[in-house]
């Protein structure tokens, strides 16, 4: 059995202000009130604003979350901020529409001619251009006004008002193949693919060397007979040119990325596969989810980006951080459902079992939702709540004193910086930073913790969660 390592991670954002109205909440609220709709459309961010936003810079790996400036962040202007960073990029909306067309294998997305031309030209100059099927963009050109008016079709805008594309439904009667569901899935496929391509190019890895891809996004791909049929992973593998890979999806609400990493690492450790990629795309449904709070506080609509993430797991290369399969926490059925009980199972028990004091973990990556998004709508500061619980448990275990609570949370925790697409926010967003710090010797250990709200699906009153420890490679320099 070999020690699995995570040899790289990539993260992307795609600015989607025009698509934000198709998020679940705006989709329900905007048609009810013209004034709210007008206020929503008048509060969308420009691309430059989205690039300058410090949490976005942290998400794509340009700055560590603890290096973000004091809030408020939404008013930040920074002409020096770049859309590209070592771990990924923030793609503008016109390119995103082109990317959606480039990964649409069923010709469901139609682009206006000028939008297609603009997108194709921009993507032709993109660092990943040779990995994208840009011919599909040209083939997607059509009469978007006419297609938008077709039964069940969805008109798509660039920014507030420009009708630039239309999404057709996949079947006249199947709700699982409605234009809305398919757009959600296509957005996931596009952003997951973009992340994976960045990862492979950054690492200079041959796509044909990847054996398996595990998807851990929030989407549900399927038809009326199998609404969550799945395997977004293989769809992403195909479009990213991973000719020798197969794949599957791990579903576990927001917690899915950690089980996906653990399963991927187990497949490598067992020798079943040599290289496994874990991918997640963004969630269209979550766009604009907290917009009412933002408008109430005269803030822009902050949930206007689709996220994406990819990581590569392989056998020990003597340098990359190890994923410790002997330090995995799981939330057992009998563990209890309160927040401290869940965190005890995830942050305390696995470390105790391995004989590692909580103070020997340098960073705890937990649910890292951007608090500037959640607080205005009354959802509080999610990471802060998590760190308070972890610190309290550390104090109870005797690892720290009560006087050290704040310091523990401040130095081993961090401000939230992820969009409210829960699977991306659940520790996964910290992976590029964790790998940097573990490689660079700034950290010895990082605990990755994810939680999922199973009760939302009405099949169980329970939550779930999983955690895993990452550790500096002892053979590394």
């Amino acid at each position: 059995m070999s020690n699995p390592v995570i040899s790289g991670a990539a993260q992307v954002l795609a600015h989607a202000p025009g698509l934000a109205r198709h998020g679940s909440k705006p989709r329900r609220e905007l048609p009810r009130d013209g004034e709210v709709e007008s206020s929503f459309l008048g509060s969308l961010r420009t691309f430059d604003q989205a690039v300058a936003y410090p949490p976005h810079q942290a998400y794509i790996g340009a700055i560590h979350p603890r290096a973000m400036p004091e809030r408020p962040w939404f008013a930040t202007t920074d002409p020096e901020a770049s859309r590209f960073a070592p771990s990924g990029e923030l793609m503008p909306e016109d390119e995103l529409l082109g990317l959606l067309a480039a990964v649409d294998h069923f010709d469901l997305l139609v682009l206006a001619e000028d939008v297609a031309e603009q997108a194709a030209a921009a993507l032709a100059g993109h660092p990943l251009a040779k990995h994208l099927d840009l011919d599909r963009i040209e083939r997607a050109v059509g009469d978007v006004e006419k297609v938008s008016a077709e039964p069940g079709a969805l008109g798509l805008h660039l920014g507030a008002h420009r009708l630039g594309a239309a999404m057709r439904r996949g079947d006249e009667a199947d709700e699982a193949l409605s234009a809305y569901v398919l757009l959600d899935n296509l957005a996931t496929k596009a952003t997951a693919t973009l992340s994976l391509l960045h990862l492979l190019v950054n690492l200079d890895v041959d796509p044909a060397s990847i054996d398996y891809v595990i998807g851990c996004g929030e989407e549900a791909v399927g038809d009326r007979y199998q609404r969550g049929g799945g395997n977004m992973a293989k769809a992403v593998a195909e479009v990213a040119g991973l000719s020798e890979a197969s794949g599957m999806d791990v579903k576990n609400f927001c917690a899915a990325p950690i089980p996906a990493l653990v399963v991927g690492a187990a497949l490598v450790a067992s020798g079943t596969f040599q290289r496994v990629a874990v991918v997640a795309g963004g969630s269209l449904a979550k766009l604009g989810m907290k917009f009412q709070g933002h408008l109430r506080h005269e803030m822009p609509v902050l949930e206007d980006v689709l996220g994406g993430s990819a990581a590569l797991i392989e056998a020990d290369d003597g340098a990359s951080p190890r994923i410790r399969l002997d330090v995995v926490g799981r939330h057992r059925v009998s563990a209890g459902g309160s927040s401290p009980q869940i965190m005890e199972a995830l942050a305390v028990e696995p470390l105790q079992r391995a004989g590692i004091p909580m103070t020997e973990v340098d960073d705890y990556a937990t649910e890292l939702h951007d608090p500037e998004i959640t607080e205005p709508q009354g959802s509080g500061n999610v990471p802060e709540r998590n760190y308070r619980t972890i610190a309290a448990l550390a104090a109870r275990s005797g690892a720290i004193t009560k006087e050290e609570l704040s310091d523990f949370a401040a130095t081993r925790g961090m401000p939230g910086f992820a969009p409210t697409q829960g699977h991306l926010a659940s520790a996964l967003c910290y992976l590029p930073h964790a790998l940097d710090r573990l490689r660079g010797g700034e950290a010895e250990r990082v605990m990755m913790i994810a939680k999922g709200s199973l009760f939302l699906g009405r099949m169980s009153q329970m939550s779930d969660g999983m955690s895993v420890l990452l550790e500096k490679n002892p053979e590394g320099a």
């Binding site: 309160s338 009354g378 998590n386 926010a425 939680k451 009760f455 009153q461």
Partner: protein
């Protein structure tokens, strides 16, 4: 503990706080009848 005797309770739990079933268990132990219980996730 008698304060909830013969009371009807709606238990709204939060994932990051106290779950619906936990509130229900407390309310029932205090003599209430729980007519609705749910847990929600606000992120």
């Amino acid at each position: 503990m008698e304060t909830l005797e013969n009371k009807l309770v709606i238990a709204l739990g939060e994932r990051d706080g106290v779950s619906g079933p936990a509130i229900s268990a407390c309310a029932e132990a205090a003599g209430a009848k729980v007519v609705f219980s749910a847990t929600e996730c606000f992120v």
